[in-house]
Symmetry: C2
Subunit: 471 residues, 2 copies
């Protein structure tokens, strides 16, 4: 029996389309009512999580959708997973919820065990972790670690701060508040707080009206598809983009302490780059004494057919920091260099230092992925799905441009001709019972759970064909 | 029977001091072992939360401390509170844990109820809430709301962004990324991310080596104690500090969009200011078209004898944004002006938009506080305790300078002559069975739970006397 069937004996066999409109009557009432106390303008529909099961999400109007969006890529093991249900009822979880520790000062005796579970699925070469609360938080804490490390390299790891640093920092002035930068890429998404927002560059709406650090943006490769027919052109594109990074290191007005990059630019359009490109970044950071931060918030935790997306690239040496969130339901960063632990206590610190309740869940999720080899399953199902989508593409090339994500499990995307066509497609898919999401302005991204199997792929492809055949 | 006895029939009658050193053997082993995977240099002791109960926290060496620090002011209703235990086991909580929604896109049908519970204890005049994940996150989201609002005032609430804004923002340049500031105060603490860090000004260690926004710092009043003997001098101090704020509005190199202030500067030393000072800030922000943000991360949720610390000031009109975290176990901000909801969707947005599991807990905490009027109880117990501490102060004036927090419930602090004396006192208190924290360099702060009663105050005062009598 497949793992999905084991977890979810009651999983629906197919979507239920109960209403003509999406959102329908009850969802609309719910959205309006919720809107009185909370910004509900982004709500697609009001969900009924009690009735959601496995790969299917139910709404309050009786629709049951096959969910290939999964809470913006963040449900790992399906809705109402029985193993997580058990974890949620455990004594350890209950205590983590009601006796939330200030983890940096008063960890419980199970803290080490909780953290070690997460480390069991750390990327190769990483043996330490620091915990956070969201992807943006994880990235910003990784920036802090990067800046601390960068300055420690200059002044000596154990050197005390100068009196000038200690006084100037209270006025937000150098040298205590140094002028340093994180380099990121056009079309990248790394979060929406102020420093993470300064590295985000996918859509203006994410950051308009927010003051920003004047940090540099390099260009991320824009490949021609299909990849195997465009090898030379794409190689040139890698070289062009790496040269820009190199140039920015040499010319940017303030020193660049770290390079931040997604293994696949997700929110920004599922833009892929080669192992050679990433190794090039690794080499440039080493050459210039900067750190390499891999943002695995969306690509991590099995989604690309390996536990961590960057493991497809065999980077040597491994990245310095790897941030995570979403499918782990818990956030933070992995690292291995002991000097990424700040030289003095209380520098990387805050009241909660993460949430043990969510960390317990992350450990359990990691365990299940390893136990059932769900990364490999995602790779297998993704290969099956990709082939079927190639067939659809050859029938409807207008509506499935630049199909991408081959050999990246179910982390698959394609483009339509423009935003209007893409948005219509997303809405139309609801009318055939599929909840599906977009990325960039014109693209569709698949982000199913790790218990998405061939039978679900068949339903998805049939639904896509049904919609496209009506165009 | 008192509410504490009702909740905790098994609460210890007194601390247990089982070891000479704190931390002792097992804690030290645990700290070293935890340190291999996590930065454990800030750990006081390894706690045994299973054995912790009510106002008492146990460590792994058999010590049981009366806890007047409460996870850096963030345990609201005592350890292993039975009501929260029930909430943690509820179906609603279990689903919130295992089916974590992307709240802005796919809220569950109970989302409105969960949010409304939190709104039931909103500060007077606030009828909307936006959720976050930590105090720093809450403050930064409040900054975003402030900057969005400020720019909307200039361009018109429903006006589209200009093409220049849309293109410049992708390069982190004005006008899309405008040069705007949040004004905060010297000795303030508002978090340790990059924008919140730029408003924090309590200790250099919180922000050294982090790039910062060049935002202004005004001066927060430094009162002479006891307050009733220094009325005139303190009034002058208010006027002096307000004049600085006014001056910064007129002279700062970039426009100030908001003023951020704690009702009592907590981390920075329990620095108090008068209702008149805060009303002055309110008036200045109105005059200059800026928002007033009250950071209630530490002062909120009953701790000062009212649900919200700023309710002591009767501000008119009420503050524009009130941020919360800690004792609510959930974070976010309250507001009332509909124009603080951004003009377009997806501006104040992120994957999770808070954590329903923690929001359910916040609602339950609020309910219990109202049901048992725990703010009033804190006021009553605080008055009792303050009087006793005044008596201690008259015996040991050297070790209890500037006793402060009268009429602010158990939100009490005092200073010693320097950091060394303060640090020694904190350690010595452990040897008589009390877990107690500091603020600023030279001060002691009391932050017990809301179920701290007269009997606990007696134990605390006796312990303090025991320590001081040995000096």
């Amino acid at each position: 029996m497949s793992i999905c069937s084991q977890y979810f004996p009651e999983e629906p066999k197919a979507p239920v389309v109960a209403t003509q409109e999406h959102p329908s009557v009850k969802s609309k009432v719910g959205i309006a009512s919720l809107g009185k106390v909370f910004d509900s303008r982004g709500v697609y529909f009001v969900a009924d999580y009690q009735k959601s099961n496995g790969n299917y999400i139910a709404d309050v109007d009786g629709n049951v959708y096959l969910d290939v969006y999964a809470q913006i890529a963040s449900i790992p093991l399906g809705y109402n997973n029985p193993v997580l249900h058990e974890v949620a009822q455990s004594d350890k979880m209950i205590r983590a919820i009601i006796d939330r520790p200030a983890l940096g000062n008063f960890p419980g005796k199970d803290a080490e065990e909780i953290i070690s579970e997460i480390l069991k699925v750390a990327p190769k070469g990483q043996d330490k972790v620091w915990s956070a609360l969201s992807g943006a938080d994880a990235n910003e804490l990784a920036f802090k670690a990067t800046f601390f490390w960068y300055q420690a390299q200059k002044r000596g790891y154990n050197t005390e701060f100068s009196s000038e640093e200690v006084s100037s920092v209270m006025h937000n002035q150098a040298p205590g508040s140094p002028e340093l930068a994180i380099l990121s890429f056009e079309r990248a998404f790394h979060g929406r707080l102020f420093a993470s927002g300064s590295t985000t560059c996918s859509k203006p709406i994410h950051k308009l009206d927010m003051p920003a650090f004047k940090w540099p943006k390099a260009q991320f490769p824009s490949y021609k598809y299909p990849l195997d027919a465009n090898v030379e052109a794409n190689k040139k594109e890698d070289a062009r983009c790496l040269a820009i990074v190199e140039e920015l290191f040499k010319t940017w007005s303030v020193p660049i302490a770290g390079v931040l990059v997604e293994p696949i630019q997700s929110e920004g359009g599922d833009n892929h780059a080669s192992a050679e490109f990433f190794q090039g970044l690794r080499d440039i950071t080493l050459k210039h004494g900067a750190l390499l931060i891999m943002d695995e918030v969306q690509t991590g935790v099995g989604a690309t057919g390996k536990m961590w997306g960057h493991e497809h690239f065999n980077l040597s040496p491994p990245p310095d920091l790897v941030t995570f969130s979403k499918k782990f339901q818990s956030a933070g960063y992995f690292f291995h260099d002991p000097e990424i632990v700040p030289n003095f206590a209380y520098r990387q610190f805050n009241t909660w230092c993460g949430d043990p309740a969510r960390m317990i869940l992350a450990g359990a999720i990691g365990q299940e992925i390893v136990k059932h080899d769900l990364s490999s399953q995602a790779a297998r199902v993704g290969a099956y799905l990709f082939k079927k989508l190639e067939a659809v593409q050859s029938k409807y090339p207008e509506y499935m441009r630049d199909l991408r994500g081959k050999d990246r499990a179910t982390f698959i995307a394609w483009s339509l001709k423009d935003a209007a066509a893409r948005n219509k497609f997303l809405v139309d898919m609801k009318s055939v019972g599929v909840n599906i999401g977009g990325c960039a302005d014109d693209s569709v991204r698949l982000r199913p759970t790790l218990v998405f199997e061939e039978k679900h792929a068949d339903i998805l492809v049939a639904a896509i064909e049904k919609v496209l055949s009506g165009y």
